[in-house]
């Protein structure tokens, strides 16, 4: 039944926003951000359950927890960058939006570098060493 709460909060926030946008447009933006945070907190319990399952799987497979954290960070940065670039595009600043996406891609590459190195190490260990006998 949590979906009803989420939809309820969304509708109430929308009604408030419509009223507030005419009276105090500067507060409307802050209210929409607050509504976004509240909705995020609603689903936070579900997200943490998913993360718990992933952590259990990582433990069973004996994968370092650091890699899982990095993957989750990458997902988070991708969402933030998508949201940010969409706002820039709405404001007619597609150039800034492109730069936001590029910055996010670079950040993801930097974060993914340790995983890439670990993968390369694994591949190198699989390859036979030394020349032909």
């Amino acid at each position: 039944m949590e979906i009803l709460q989420v939809v309820g909060v969304g509708i109430i926030a929308t009604i408030f926003l419509v009223i507030l946008r005419k009276q105090r447009p500067e507060l409307a933006v802050q209210l929409s951000i607050a509504a976004g945070v509240i909705l995020f907190l609603f689903v936070l319990a579900k997200i943490s359950a998913v993360i718990q399952v992933l952590e259990d799987l990582a433990n069973k497979a004996q994968i370092n927890r650091y890699y899982l954290t990095t993957l989750l960070k990458i997902v988070g940065i991708a969402y933030i960058a998508e949201f940010g670039s969409q706002i820039c595009r709405d404001a007619g600043e597609s150039t800034i939006a492109t730069k936001v996406e590029m910055a996010a891609k670079i950040l993801v590459m930097v974060l993914a570098l340790p995983i890439l190195l670990a993968l390369m190490d694994s591949l190198m260990s699989l390859l036979p060493r030394g020349g032909p006998s």
Binding site: E26, V29, K73, G76, I77, I80, G84, I87, D90
Partner: protein, 172 residues
């Protein structure tokens, strides 16, 4: 717990920065509108009441809204206490000092500085013409400020929060 507090502080700081920049964009258009009203009032004082400039500036400062009030009050005070300094010079100094306390841009200050040409010295018609000219330029700047605020206000507000969240994620 310490990590969470740190994260909240980082997001809070970036959000506050974004909101303050958005607020400055909003305040700029309000100040430009307020300046136009004040100049219209100054023109009335000079044209119909034939008030001396220091008194005219003081009159305007009494009815103008903040922070425009401070500019006219300061210019009026300096004019009353002036000893051999030209009114134009005093106006320029007052504008220069006042501009730092507002979110107005340099171009806005340049338009206000134009008012100094012949202020208190030129014939009344010339002064009125100059005030009208500056008022028209401020109208153009105000419409540009509205357009900028409409485009960038939301970007700065959301941008601060999102950038803070991105920084937290990157260093977590």
């Amino acid at each position: 717990m310490g990590k969470l507090v740190g994260a909240a502080l980082i997001v809070g700081a970036f959000s506050a920065g974004g909101f303050m920049t958005a607020r400055d964009l909003r305040r700029r258009k309000q100040i430009l509108a307020s300046l136009q009203s004040a100049l219209a009032m100054l023109a009335t004082e000079i044209a119909f009441r034939a008030t001396r400039l220091p008194e005219a500036l003081a009159q305007v400062s009494e009815t103008a809204g903040s922070p425009v009030k401070a500019l006219f009050a300061e210019a009026g005070r300096r004019l009353r206490e002036a000893e051999g300094q030209a009114a134009s010079e005093i106006w320029l100094l007052a504008v220069e000092e006042w501009l730092h306390t507002t979110p107005l841009k340099g171009s806005d200050g340049e338009e206000l500085a134009r008012l100094a040409l012949g202020l208190g010295a030129a014939p009344r018609e010339d002064q009125l013409h100059r005030i009208e000219e500056v008022k028209n330029r401020l109208t153009c700047l105000e419409s540009e400020a509205w357009e900028t605020e409409n485009r960038m206000g939301k970007v700065w507000s959301y941008g601060g929060v999102l950038f803070g969240a991105a920084v937290v994620l990157a260093i977590w």
